[in-house]
Symmetry: C2
Subunit: 227 residues, 2 copies
């Protein structure tokens, strides 16, 4: 017995609005946003945004956290982020960069950025390739961790996270159109990379990352530094 058409339609309807879609895409950076920020981002009145957020939270797409007078919302979980990414990949059409300012920002984001809670951009794709070349991941069919890879992740990121989230996930990169490493281990790797200063957030450019020399060595190996 499949999903009912009604519930599928209702669910798709959540994203079938420009403002709500805009908010969800913004939240793909993995951070919590306030209602006002999202209103400004989507270009609608605060009242309108408030109603949209109530809908999305009610449907379980977002979770909220009240803090003083602020209402913070974020994506309800990695599954939601994954669904958004996949749907976005299928939707296909891209925004066209317009000003020089945005072109520069886009270039930084294309180089290295976060994708929800893992690495993306040229760096993210290179990391996946490097891990595969080093025999730590198996990409011959689907994506899986090799025994050597399990040891490596345990050594670098600490004990493997448990839970229902798949350890590795091939996440289609929006700029590279090739997969990068998502899943629980992808998230753990980003956490380690930030702690170890392999990558640093770029001030004023929320999702962008700057790669340090040590980071290039640790993440992609001695040879594969340049994109």
């Amino acid at each position: 017995m499949p999903v009912s058409a009604a519930s599928l339609a209702r669910f798709a309807g959540l994203l079938a609005d420009r403002s709500r879609a805009s908010m969800c895409l913004a939240l793909l950076d993995g951070r919590a946003w306030t209602a006002g920020e999202l209103a400004r981002h989507a270009g609608v009145a605060r009242s309108t945004a408030s109603e949209h957020l109530t809908v999305l939270v009610g449907a379980g797409v977002l979770t909220e956290r009240r803090q003083g007078r602020a209402r913070y919302v974020e994506l309800a979980g990695p599954e939601v982020a994954a669904a958004l990414e996949d749907l976005g990949a299928l939707a296909g059409e891209r925004e066209r960069p317009t000003s020089l300012r945005t072109v520069r920002a886009d270039a930084r984001l294309a180089e290295a950025r976060t994708c929800y809670d893992h690495l993306a951009g040229r760096l993210g794709v290179a990391v996946l390739g490097s891990l595969a070349a080093r025999g730590l991941l198996d990409t011959t069919a689907g994506l899986a961790v090799t025994p050597a890879g399990r040891r490596w992740f345990a050594e670098v990121c600490g004990p493997a996270p448990s839970g229902s989230r798949p350890p590795v996930r091939a996440c289609l990169d929006w700029t590279e159109r090739r997969p990068h490493l998502g899943g629980a281990l992808g998230a753990a790797l980003l956490r380690t990379a930030l702690e170890e200063r392999w990558v640093m957030p770029v001030p004023g450019l929320p999702r962008a990352l700057a790669v340090t020399p040590e980071g290039a060595l640790a993440l992609t190996g001695p040879a594969a530094v340049a994109g």
Copy 2:
């Protein structure tokens, strides 16, 4: 540069209508339907269905084939089917069976059925488990084919299909709530199973399959026949 909110919203809007969702879900059986059949299935006038189909074909979700006076439509490809399945899994809510007739049909479908172009139901889940137990698939992290598995698939299904479609894909089963085997090899396995008479279509119940004794042996091994 992410997908634009507008294009994501537009795409989601395609499924955000009860009638269109109903048609797409019907088409998940992998067959081509005529416009009239889909109109009846969705419970709308032929004229309405015609408009919906024009929209879906125009957006690339469906492809059409004119044949005489009939207009056949089907899903544009496995990616679309996969996206529908994932979205449906996330949407969650299920239809409630209503009459005895449908309960019986549901029971057959829960036992063994096709899911677009591969095996599903208790059988599908059992096949995945059996292949993993025999060391032909690796499920410890994600889903991947082992070297032994590659040899087995080549022997049983012929040369491995090439192309961009991922060889194996964990497809969440609607009735079992556990993954079964999708992807190119999943499709090849169903093709073989039909050719070898391991499973037979059930007359009058489109997606249902009956498992033959040889099929149970070949697909799930000597021990794991009963559900």
